[in-house]
């Protein structure tokens, strides 16, 4: 199997997972698809010098987050802060929850959003997130705490109801 075939196999395996992470970062599936595609393209360029398996996934994941944050720094996407979530659902029904949650995430800074996604979607440790984002563990903890406070303030009862395990 040559390196291109290896890459195709790798991309087919990790693509869906990367795209879900990208979705939580971007907030819509189109942007998530674009972000995942550009991430995998960069991984392909570096394929000859990165290890296969988990090493390659870690590289791809780090590239995804870097691309997301770089895109935000360049102002490719616009965010608008919200003072509150206007149409709060009565219960955590999936569609309404999705809209409310994405709107709440959109009110966070890109870095805070990345911290939340890495910590609570990817289940990365504080140290891993710090290494990935190039900041201190203390900074990750404070970003995470502030982001949770913000979500609590925006989501209120919805967050309370979600505290019941699935």
């Amino acid at each position: 199997m040559d390196s291109t075939e290896e890459f195709i196999e790798f991309a087919a395996a990790v693509g869906p997972r990367l795209r879900r992470t990208a979705y939580l970062l971007c907030g819509d599936w189109h942007s998530a698809q674009d972000l995942t595609q550009s991430t995998l393209a960069k991984v392909f360029v570096a394929w000859h010098r990165i290890n296969s398996g988990e090493g390659a996934y870690a590289y791809a994941h780090r590239t995804l987050v870097n691309c997301y944050l770089a895109g935000k720094r360049k102002g490719k996407h616009t965010e608008f802060p919200v003072g509150g979530v206007p149409d709060r659902p009565s219960g955590p029904e999936t569609t309404e929850l999705r809209l409310v949650m994405l709107q709440a995430l959109a009110s966070l800074t890109p870095k805070a959003r990345a911290v939340l996604v890495l910590r609570y979607w990817e289940d990365r440790s504080v140290d891993q997130v710090a290494a990935m984002l190039g900041c201190s563990a203390g900074n990750v903890k404070s970003q995470s705490s502030r982001a949770l406070d913000r979500l609590r303030a925006l989501l209120g009862d919805t967050l309370t109801e979600l505290r019941v395990p699935d």
Partner: protein
């Protein structure tokens, strides 16, 4: 409280992602195509920067007999320079160095400083008419450097075309002998002077591309022409092919590359109407990067 919130966020993420996830479609194929394009562009930038470095380092080096004249017709020394014997690769089928071109007159009219978009616009203007373009990028530091690149698809081939303008007090052109002796990838070289003190150099380089088992599956060719005018402006245009294969060629012929580089409109000042009109051009790719950024140390955008 914090633990409860973390649990709630985890639960929310799971539910949000599970809802309405669309099919992944042609993600892998598109990513592969984008990766090939990106890799090709980076190699092109690296080759371009390295050619420029070689030209600077070799300035003043005494000319060596041009190996082009010594090689059998149709074959040139190829990659793998050094003391050992070099592999030989044929020049692309149908390739020939072109006769000297005589630049036309510089257009009259009020001249204003060059902009990145005017460089990009002029690059599009000097390309042949039957091409499709995409991924247009440009950058400019008036008086110091200007560059633009674009992906081009013609009946001849698919690849990238890059133009770089050098400083007014640029170095002399490297001799063909030094170029052939110094860079194993260069398989053809021709230099000549035009009336008015304009120097022209045509270079052809070929880099074998293959899979992990080192079997060469095709060649990535670069057709490059550097025109150094008497006013000190140095213009380098190069065309290179994507996805090398047995029959893959750059999108422009050497004659078209030389014609593009010799266009008298390449200058630090351009016609004001042209520059104004060029502001409407939409750049669709990041600006060309310099040599230091070509090989990243880690993941980045």
């Amino acid at each position: 409280m914090q633990d409860m919130d973390e649990m709630a966020v985890r639960s929310a993420f799971r539910r949000v992602v599970a809802a309405d996830e669309p099919p992944i479609g042609a993600l892998v194929g598109e990513a592969l195509r984008a990766g090939l394009r990106l890799r090709r562009r980076r190699r092109l930038q690296a080759a371009s920067a390295c050619l420029a470095v070689v030209a600077v380092l070799a300035a003043g080096v005494p000319a060596v007999a041009a190996r082009l004249d010594q090689a059998p017709p149709g074959t040139m020394p190829a990659t793998g320079g050094g003391p050992g014997p070099r592999a030989r690769v044929s020049l692309p089928a149908g390739f020939h160095m072109v006769p000297p071109v005589v630049p036309a007159r510089i257009p009259a009219g009020r001249q204003v400083p060059v902009t990145a978009k005017s460089v990009a616009s002029l690059l599009l203007a000097v390309l042949p008419a039957d091409q499709r373009t995409s991924y247009l990028a440009a950058a400019s530091q008036p008086g110091r450097s200007a560059a633009a690149s674009v992906d081009v698809d013609t009946h001849q081939g698919t690849g990238s075309v890059l133009v770089q303008m050098g400083p007014p007090a640029g170095s002399r052109l490297q001799s063909c002998g030094a170029a052939l002796a110094g860079d194993g990838a260069i398989i053809g070289c021709k230099d000549y002077a035009l009336t008015g003190g304009t120097e022209v150099q045509e270079l052809v380089s070929a880099t074998g591309v293959g899979s992990d088992n080192q079997v060469v599956q095709g060649y990535s060719y670069v057709f490059a022409a550097t025109v150094r005018r008497a006013d000190g402006v140095s213009v380098m245009v190069q065309a290179s092919n994507y996805v090398p294969g047995p029959a893959s060629l750059p999108p422009l012929t050497m004659a078209q590359v030389v014609h593009a580089a010799a266009d008298p409109r390449w200058s630090w000042a351009m016609d004001s109407a042209f520059v104004a009109h060029a502001q409407r051009v939409r750049l669709t790719a990041p600006a060309p990067r310099d040599c230091a950024q070509v090989q990243p140390a880690g993941p980045r955008c």
